[in-house]
Amino acid sequence: MGSALTAWSQSQSLSFYSINTGCCADEVQSSVGARYDIERFGALEQTEPEAANLLLINGMVTEQAALEIQKIYDRMPRPKYVIAVGACASNRGLFCQKGTDATARPVDRIIPVDIYVPGCPPRPEAILNGLIALQEKIQSRLEARDNNAD
């Protein structure tokens, strides 16, 4: 019973900090806006990583940005989750080819990622869907832990 409540409250109060490196940031902004309203799923944007337990990576992660993202991830309190928004964050998207001076890498080479949202950029509905998928994942993980304990 205790962990069912924990699971529910944790999944319904995800405070997110977004890292804006590319065009997916515009779609995340649209999701925050009144039409899509990500806040109705309990996700509230934070201005400090210390206050957040969900990290949104919106866009390309360059070698230079990777160090900073690692630092921000380390500043977040546990339990913490990561959503990679868009093709660039998931697998470098358009910039995956060799021979260019792009030095990007997928974000899961730097920090663990829970949910990947496909799209270039993904629509706000897809971002909301990613958030709901994460909520379900948190609930099922905690419920499984509860069952094992019995």
Partner: protein
């Protein structure tokens, strides 16, 4: 307490922070609450778009154009298309010209609204922030109707546009024009000419016309400093020369002094100007082809160099293109307005207090993605 005993202390912000327009490292020295030294670090969003474009066929490079500046993607598509058309000597049909103009002006409105969103966010004005986002959604809906995507349109292509407009599109554009005209009054009352905002932004981070000239500012930022930077009238781009720019009122550079308030006001005026241009363009849609000739993956482009300039929402965008007669571009380079805006901001923000830093920077409408490419 003696205030002259203050020593300057270092202040660091970023590179990832919600109050910044993008990944931008800010290193400053603060004296009291004023910035006495300021330098920006960039390159966190460096993806090598121009280099990536030289590895693709001529017809496959278009998606990259949308990723230089995602908000004003239409301008980059247009600059590239015009440069390529001058290499292949393609004549663009009149209908395509008008559709391009509609896309570009809608992009301008969308980009300016996004800039005002950042200004509202910096002022912690939640209501206006949501009102602006709500109205921007309508522009994105129109893009979706046109190209099937909200961002990354991939719509303007060399030789014309990718799809013809569908039934009901023009009516919806006109509806949006009427909506914006009405909503701009709300923005003016709640944000732009609200006494507290005027008080706070007047004289803040002023860029004089001499400074703007020496930095080479273009577009609305230059206009806000009192330089007549509207090149659309005379450049012969699209069908701009047929249109009347002085509606609803003629904009006079002499009215602008270059402070933060003027940079916000010019964006409101440009939105209204774009509304009138859209109305005039909708009357000029003629029947005919929307695409003259499409470039296939195996089609080479004649050797040569070309360049084309477009008046983007943030300023002048120039595309330089080089072909060696092959299947892929030999060289692509863009001159972007955000580079100059960022450097001008670096100087103009000296002496601004920490509280006003975010607001003054938002008024410059810098796209870091565009700067880094």
């Amino acid at each position: 307490m003696r205030t002259d005993a203050f020593q300057s202390v270092p202040w660091e912000l970023g590179p990832f922070h919600p109050s910044l327009p993008g990944p931008l490292g800010v290193s400053a020295q603060v004296m009291g609450d004023r910035l006495s030294e300021l330098s920006f670090r960039t390159g966190f969003a460096r993806r090598g778009v121009e280099a990536a474009m030289t590895k693709k066929n001529w017809c496959s490079v278009r998606p990259y154009l949308d990723h230089i500046d995602p908000e004003g993607a239409g301008f980059y598509e247009l600059a590239f298309a015009q440069a390529l058309e001058s290499l292949t000597r393609t004549e663009v049909p009149k209908r395509a010209q008008v559709i391009r103009l509609i896309v570009v002006e809608l992009s301008r409105i969308s980009t300016h609204l996004a800039c005002l969103v950042r200004v509202a966010k910096a002022l912690r004005s939640q209501a206006v922030y949501h009102y602006l986002l709500r109205d921007r959604e309508v522009a994105l809906d129109l893009f979706e109707l046109l190209a099937g995507a909200r961002f990354s349109l991939n719509f303007i292509q060399p030789g014309g546009v990718r799809h013809d407009i569908t039934a009901g599109f023009v009516e919806r554009v006109l509806e949006y024009c009427a909506l914006l005209e009405y909503r701009v009054h709300e923005y003016n009352e709640l944000l732009v000419f609200h006494p507290t905002v005027v008080e706070r932004t007047r004289g803040l981070a002023r860029v004089s016309s001499e400074l703007a000239k020496s930095f080479g500012l273009t577009g609305p930022n230059a206009f806000a400093s009192g330089i007549d930077s509207n090149r659309r009238r005379t450049s012969g781009e699209l069908i701009y020369s047929e249109l009347d720019f002085d509606r609803p009122q003629a904009l006079r550079p002499a009215d602008y002094s270059g402070d933060t308030h003027d940079r916000i006001v010019i964006r409101i005026h440009e939105i209204l100007q774009s509304v009138e241009l859209l109305r005039q363009a909708c009357e000029r849609i003629v029947p005919g082809d929307f695409l003259a000739a499409s470039l296939g993956p195996k089609d080479p482009v004649p050797a040569g160099r070309a360049q084309s300039s477009v008046s983007g929402a943030r300023g002048e965008i120039t595309c330089h293109l080089e072909s060696k007669g092959g299947l892929a571009p030999a060289g692509v380079a863009f001159d972007v307005p955000s580079t100059t805006s960022l450097r001008a901001a670096e100087l103009a923000l000296l002496g601004v207090s920490i509280d006003d830093f975010e607001l003054a920077l938002a008024s410059f409408d810098v796209s870091i993605s565009e700067h880094d490419r």
